[in-house]
C-alpha cells in the first residue's frame, strides 16, 4: 500500500494515502472559540469548511510550538480534516506485512522505511478526532 510520509518537527509520521484528499500550503485560518484545544481553526478549501488540527498536540499532547507549513486534507467518514504538519516528505510504497504494532496496540503502528522508523497513523486514531 502507499503511504504519505510527513514530519512533525523531527518525528516522522505517515498516513495511508487512501485517506488523503490533497496536500496544501498553509493558509490563513479562522480560530474557533471554545473549541477543543487541538483545533487551531477553520480553513476554506474547495468550497468546504475544514477544521485544522494541531497534529502533534493531538497525537502526543505536546505542543511543539512550531510554525506549520503544510496541511494534509484527509477524509474521515463524510467529513474532512486538515492535519497541520511541518513538512511533507514523499509517497512511498510499503508492504503491509512490514507494519508492526507496538504492544499489540492497534492504534500504535510503526513501519520501517529506508531505515527510518515512521509512526503510521491509523484510521481509528483519526476517527477519534
Amino acid at each position: 500500500m502507499q503511504i504519505l510520509t510527513f514530519l512533525l518537527k523531527d518525528e516522522r509520521y505517515a498516513i495511508d494515502i487512501t485517506l488523503v484528499n490533497t496536500i496544501e500550503n498553509k493558509m490563513p485560518l479562522t480560530p474557533v472559540p471554545n473549541s477543543k484545544k487541538y483545533v487551531i481553526g477553520l480553513i476554506s478549501n474547495r468550497g468546504s469548511v475544514i477544521p485544522v488540527i494541531n497534529t502533534s498536540l493531538m497525537l502526543d499532547d505536546k505542543d511543539i510550538n512550531n510554525i506549520f507549513e503544510k496541511f494534509i486534507i484527509i477524509s474521515i467518514g463524510n467529513e474532512k480534516l486538515a492535519l497541520a504538519v511541518n513538512e511533507i516528505d514523499d509517497v512511498v510504497e510499503i508492504e503491509e506485512k512490514n507494519i508492526e504494532n507496538i504492544n499489540n496496540d492497534e492504534d500504535f503502528s510503526i513501519v520501517n522505511v529506508n531505515s527510518n522508523v515512521i509512526t503510521l497513523l491509523t484510521y481509528k486514531q483519526l476517527k477519534k478526532i
Binding site: 480560530p31 474557533v32 468550497g47 469548511v49 467529513e79
Partner: protein
Amino acid sequence: MSNDFSEISNVNKKNLDELLHLVEELVINKVRIEKMKNEVSDSSHGKILDQELRIISEIQASIKKVRLIKIKTLTNSLESLVSNCCTEYNINVDLIFSGQETEIENTLIIYIHNILNYLIKDICASEFAAFKNESNQIKVTTYSDGKNFTMVIESNGKGFNYEDTCEKLNKKNLDLISFEEDEVKKFLNIINFTNNFEEFLKLRLDLIYLDGSMEFESVANEFMRLTIIIPLTSSIMQGLLVTIGDQIFAIPLDFIETIINKNTVKTKKSKNIEMIIYMDHIIQLVRVSDLLKIEAISEPSCIIIVKSNNKRAALLVDSLLDQTDMVIKHKHSIMMDIGEIKGTTILGDGLVTLVLDIPSILKEI
C-alpha cells in the same frame, strides 16, 4: 389516467446534493462579483457582471424549487397508516388531507412524516379508541406562505380542557417548544399521549433544531388541534457582520430586532448580571467576547438586540461591519458541542466566518 411523468423524477440524491453545494458556492462568489462590478471601470465589463449576477439569482431561485417536494408524496403512506390504525383499534377514521400541493423542502419531509406518523397513531389510540365517536376524523391541513410551512392536525376526538391544562402546568399556552422536558412529559400524561414519550421528545427536539413551533389547542369533547409551524429556511440567508475582538462573526438577520449604541441606553447591574433598559424593556446584556472567551479590543459600544421565541438579549459587540448574503454551512461534527456556533459561512474574502447560534445563546444566558 395518464401519469404525468413530468412531475416525477428520480434524482440521485447525491448528485442533487453536489449540485446544491455548488450553487451555494456560486452565491458566495456573487458577493465577490458585486464587489468587482463596483471596481470595474469599463461599462461593458460591468454589463457582463450584471448578467452573471442575474443568472446566479435565477439559479438560486430554481434550485430552491428543486429542493421542494410536494406534501402529497406522503398521502399514500398516511392513508395506509390510518387504515392500519383502524384495523388495530377497531375504529373508523376518515383522513382529510388538504393542501397536498404545498411544497416543502425535501429535507423537511422526513420530519413531517415522522410527526404525522406518531400523532396519527397516538390520536387513534387515545382520542378515538376510548371515545367511540360515530365518525372519527383527522384533518390534516398544510399550507405555506413562502416563509413558513404550517401543518394543522385536527381530530374531533376527546380533546381536553385547555384552560385547566394550562393552569395545571402554569403556562399561558401550550407551545411545547418553550416547555421544559419534564413539563412536556406532564402534559402528555394529562392528555393521555402516553404511547412513547421518548419518541415524542425526540420529535420535539427536531422541531427545536428546525426552529419551529408546536402548539396544542383543544376544546373538550370537541376537537384537539396541533399546529406545527416550520420556518422554510433556505441555507442562503441574510446576515449582519460584526467584530468581536479581532475576529468577524455573522448574526442571521432574522433574529435581529434592532441595533443601538450602548451609550444611548441606561444600564443596570444586579448580581453580576448586566441589563439595559430599552423601550420599556429590561434586556439582559450579553458580552459576546466573554461568551466566546475572546479578548475584546476596546470597550465595545455596539448593542444588537436579538429575539427568538419571545426571549430577548442585548448582544454587546465591538463594531458593526456590513450586511451580507451568506450561505450557512452546517458546522463540522468537531464543533458539535460549541453551542454558540450555528454554522460557518465563507465571505467574499475567502475566509471562514462563524455564524452565531442565537436561539442557543439565548438559552444559555
